[in-house]
Amino acid sequence: MAEFLQFTSSGLTVGAVYALVALGFTLIFNASGVVNFAQGEFVMLGGMGTVFAAAAGVPLPLAALLAVALAVVAGLLLDGLAIRPARQAGPIVLIIITIGAALVIRGLAQVFFDKEFHKLPGFSGDASIHIGGAAVLPQTFWVLAGTLAIFSGMWWFMTRTMTGKALRATAANRLAAELVGIDTRLVTTLAFAVSAGIGAVAGILITPITLTNYDIGTMLALKAFVASVLGGMGNPIGAVVGGLLLGLLEAFAAGYLSSSYKDAAAIVVLLLVLFAMPSGLFGSKSVERV
C-alpha cells in the first residue's frame, strides 16, 4: 500500500508538471489553431530567468516577477516578429515557425544564461511530508495548487469574460469573428502574452523539482504535447487530466512493470485512447473548416 501511494505521489508530481505546461498550449491553440512548440521555452525562461535574477542579488519573489515579464516579452516578440507576418500561411507553417522560434530562444539562452543546470529552493523547504507511507515533497503541493489556480483562471476567462469569448470565436472562425467586430490580431497577441506568462509561472513552480537548464523546454513541451493530445487539444480540463494521467502512467509503469519500458507503456496507452477517441478524452469533435 505504501508502495502504491509512493508511485501515486510520484505520478501526481510529474503529472502536475506536465499539466501545468500543457495548460500553456491551450490558449494559443484556441486563439490561432497553432500548437506552440516554443511553449517549453517560455517554461525554461521562467526558471532560468528566476535563477539568474536571484543570482544577481534580486530577492526571489521579485526575480520570479522579472522572469515572468521576460517570458511575456518573448511571447510578444514571437507573435510580432514571427507569427503575425506569416498570418496568411496555414497552421502547419505556423507550427514550424514556432519550432524555429524555440531553437532561437534555446540558442540565445545558451549564450546569455549558460549551459549548466540550476536549481531553486523549494518554496516551503525540501523536507518531505509523509502521507500514509509515501514521502512527498512540499513543492508538489505548490505545483498542484498552481495547476488548479491557472486552470480555474483560464476556465473563468474563457467562459465568463468577453475577451475570452472573443478568443474562442477567433478560433472557431476567424473571418466571422472579424465580421462581428473582434480584433483578431489583438486576441492572438493577447493569447501569446498570457501563454508565455503561464509558461514562466510553470517554470518557476517546477524548477525546485525538475531543475532547469537552457534545454529543459524540449522535453517538457514534448511531454506536455502528448498530455494535451491525450486529454484533447485546446481543452483546459483535457490538459490537466491528460497531464496527470500521463504522469501516473509513467510512474506506475516504472514501479510495477519495468523502468526500461515506462515511456513505451505511456505511449501505448496514448495510442489506445486515440484509437477509441481520436480527439482525445475531452476534445471536441474536429470540424472541417472551409
Binding site: 508502495e3 509512493q6 508511485f7 505521489s9 510520484s10 508530481t13 510529474v14 508538471v17 545558451q110 549551459k115 549548466e116 543546470f117 540550476h118 536549481k119 525540501d126 518531505s128 514521502a135 512527498v136 515533497l137 517546477i206 523539482i209 525538475t210 531543475l211 537548464n213 534545454d215 529543459i216 524540449t218 522535453m219 510512474a251 506506475f252 516504472a254 514501479g255 523502468s259 526500461s260 515506462k262 515511456d263
Partner: protein, 390 residues
Amino acid sequence: MKSECSGSNRGRVLAWVGAVGAVFLAAQPASAADTVKIGASLSITGPASFLGEPEEKTLKIYVDKINAQGGVNGRKLELVVYDDAGDANKARTFATRLVEEDKVVAIVGGSTTGATMAMVPVAEDAKVPFISLAGAIVIVDPVKKFVFKTPHTDRMACEKIFADMKKRGLTKVGIISGTGGFGKSMHDECVKVASTSGVEIVADETYGPKDSDMTPQLTNIKNKAGVQALLNADFGQGPAIVMRNIKQLGITLPVYQSHGVASKSFIDLAGPAAEGVRLPAAALLVADKLPANDPQKPIAVGYAQTYEKETGKPVSTFGGHAYDGLMMLVEAMKRAGSADPVKIRDEIEKTKGFIGTAGMFNMTSTDHMGLDLGAFKMLQIKNGDWTLAD
C-alpha cells in the same frame, strides 16, 4: 577548359571556407607556415557541453602557454577547434576537415564516446594520432593503432567502486542507471565485472536522460530485500535528481556515484542530499588535500590553479583530460623531434611514467590508455566538498 575553370573555382571556395573556419572557429589568425597544427573536435555546445567547454578552455590556455615558452621543437603550435555539439555526424565531418584541409599532425578529443567512435575511422585512415577525451572502454578495446585516450574507463570505475564496497562488507548492490550512452555503457560494464569483483547485483533499475523523478525506481530498490548499497551510473542532472529523491524517500543505504558527476555542479544541484556519497575520480578534485609526497600533487595543483585563475570557474576532471592529452602529445612531439604524425604516434605509444591530472600513464602497444586502478581515488562528499575516502 570549362571543367578546369570550375575546378579552380572550387579550390578557391574550399580555401576560403577553410580560412573562415580557421579564423572564426579557432579564434586565431591563420598564421605563418612554420606552425604545427593540432586539431580538436569538442562538444562545446549541446548536451555534453559540460565536457567540451572546459576541454576547449584548457586546450586554448595551454597552447598559449606553450607558445609563450617558444612552442615545440622551435615551432609554434596552432590549435584548430571545431564544435560538434555532441553530434557524431558532425564530429566525423570535422575530423575529416581537420586531416584533409587543416592538415593537423594530431587530434585531441572527441568529448563523448559517440563522437569519438565516429572520428576513429578518419584518424585511422589518415594515419593521424588521435587522443580521445571520452570515457567508454570501446575506444581502446580492441586497440586501434592511432587511437589513444586519457580518461579512466567506465569498467575501471565499476571495479574501483565494487572493491570499495567489498572492503566495507557491502556485497548486495542495487544499481540505478540512466539510459543515455554513458549510463548504459557503465551499467553494462558493471554487470560484467560484478561477479569477478565479488558483489551481486540484486536490483537493476533505469531512467531516461531527461526524467525529473526517479522515486518509483528507488522505491523498488528500497523495498528489495537485502540491498546493502546503491550505485548510480550516469552523468548530468540525473544523478542530482536521484540524490534528491533518495533524501526525499529517506533511504539510508550507502550511495556510490560514478566519475561522471565529478564536478562541483553536482554538489551544488544535489545540495545536502549529496552528503556522504562516494565516487571514484581523478585526484585533481582533491589536489590540495593530497599528501605532499604524492607525485601527482604539483601537476594537479598547478592545473587547478591555472584553470581557475584563467576562467574563474571551478576545475572539473573533464578539462583535466584535455590537459593530459595535450601535454602527452607535446612530450611525444618533443621526443619524436619532428612533426611527422606517424613518428608522433610511435612516441605516444612509448609514453612511460607521464604524470597527468588523471594519474600516471604507462602506454604500451596493447594498452592505449595507460592508467591503472591506482590512478582512481575514492572520494567522499563531506560538508559540500570532495574529500579522500581512504
